[in-house]
Amino acid sequence: MAAAESYPDDLKYHSEHDWARVDSDEATLGITWFAQDALGELVHYEPPEPGQTVTRGEPYGEVESVKAVSDVIAPLSGEVIEVNGKIVDAPETVNDDPYGEGWLVRIRLSDPSEADSLLDAEAYKQVLAEQ
């Protein structure tokens, strides 16, 4: 069942509809409720390889619904330390729980200070309101 719209306060957001949960020099990344809703039921996740470098503002993977393909944009830079294999097998998990079970990758941050430039939940909701 699709999740209800929400933007948790403990996350940081990128205006390309990605979130980061920062934990010292690591972060868990995913796509926001808005992104999964816009795409519809996800049917494919093309993840990066562990060890791959991701760059803030650049795509690091792809998610697909029946009708559309979307790049997933990295909100922060770093090295992939874990890919959520559950999403590869059951991409619809992202629709069910975009901020929990639906996380996409964990990365080791190359520059933790980048997190300061991300949006908080209120600022991200403002971005959505202006769309």
């Binding site: 519809g40 039921e41 494919h44 792809e62 697909e64 619904s65 029946v66 009708k67 393909v69 590869v88």
Partner: protein, 351 residues
């Protein structure tokens, strides 16, 4: 900016929470609950699609038959009053101007139901070739069309069985309509043609009988699973019927526009063919992707019934045989697929 046209059911789609998208100049519902759920409903029960954006052209007169026989690829002489036929409007090069279904309403009166994107061009094409004794009219604005499709559709609508590609005047809960035994999903079902002003009442009656509203997203995946070509993607004015595997709707012993060219292509053998394929590696093919062996994908999606990437595309004839391995360029990643016999999805035999 072009204003999008709306079908008479627009407000109902919005009220049902449909996601509305631009399609062929119309604002149409792409999905309600979700493409996959809608798709499975049509395969197992009954769904309804608003396809009122499609065009309806009427050709009437003592020379209507001759006009159409000379413009359409299939043999119109095989269609009796009350019958329908899948056919192609072809150009001089044997290319496909449109694919459509022609219904013989009366001995000298035919209805053509055509693709929305081509309705205006088709009308112009016919109008320019109209002869004395044939009158071509565009009835699109007066017509609403609902496709009710799925194994339980006939039962849910309270209709009697009838052979495919026939039609009759009928009614659903008192609303008069033309009941056409045609569709674009590979399932049993009907297409109900009604007057625009009756569209809302007909839609409501069909929903009350348990049909689930379905959008263009499911319509596309349903037709792709059974390898029905989509005009503008799989077949175009630049592709010919023989290469597209539509030789069976070309009466090459009759004369119609482009028949000479099609006879030549058939005799020589087409250089490429429209093949159906299933991904053997995890990936979803999409229209426009290159095929390493030559050619490109013209339709691609995830099959909701098979849960695997499927598609169609033109490949060199040597690679078009079922069982051949081809490689799709999925945004820079080579992914293997296998050419399969059409249709990709075959309904299990059931009563």
């Amino acid at each position: 900016m072009q204003t999008l046209a709306q079908t008479p059911l627009h407000a109902r789609h919005v009220a049902l929470g449909a996601r509305m998208v631009p399609f062929a100049g119309w604002e149409m519902p792409v999905q309600y609950a979700g493409v996959i759920a809608e798709h499975r409903t049509v395969r197992t029960d009954c769904g309804v699609f608003d396809v009122s954006h499609m065009g309806e052209l009427e050709v009437e007169g003592p020379h209507a038959h001759d006009l159409l026989q000379g413009l359409l690829s299939n043999d119109l002489a095989r269609v009796e009053v009350g019958g329908a036929q899948y056919t192609l409007l072809t150009n001089e090069r044997g290319g496909i101007v449109d694919d459509l279904i022609v219904y013989r309403l009366e001995r000298c009166r035919y209805l053509l139901i055509v693709n929305a994107a081509n309705a205006r061009d088709d009308y112009q094409w016919l109008k320019e070739r109209e002869v004395r004794g044939s009158d071509v009219r565009d009835l699109s604005a007066e017509c609403a069309l609902l496709a009710v499709q799925g194994p339980r559709s006939i039962e849910r609508l309270g209709l009697d069985d009838a052979p495919a590609f026939t039609f009759a005047a009928g009614e659903i809960d008192g609303i008069e309509c033309m009941v056409n035994r045609t569709g674009y999903t590979g399932e049993r079902g009907v297409e109900l043609l009604a007057a625009t002003e009756d569209a809302g009442a007909l839609w409501d009656a069909v929903l009350a009988r348990g049909a689930v509203p379905c959008g263009l997203g499911a319509r596309d995946t349903l037709r792709l699973e059974v390898c029905y070509p989509l005009h503008g993607n799989d077949i175009t004015p630049e592709t010919d019927a023989i290469s597209a595997g539509l030789g069976w709707v070309c009466a090459l012993d009759t004369d119609f526009t482009g028949a000479d060219e099609l006879r030549r292509i058939k005799a020589e053998g087409p250089a490429r063919r429209l093949a159906a394929f299933v991904m053997r590696e995890r990936a979803i093919p999409r229209s426009g992707m290159a095929i390493a062996e030559g050619g490109e994908v013209t339709s691609g999606s995830l099959s909701p019934m098979l849960d695997v990437g499927i598609g169609m595309g033109y490949v060199p004839t040597a690679h078009a045989e079922p069982g051949r391995s081809i490689t799709i360029d999925v945004r820079g990643r080579p992914r293997r697929a296998e050419v399969v016999k059409k249709p990709i999805y075959k309904r299990e035999e059931s009563m």
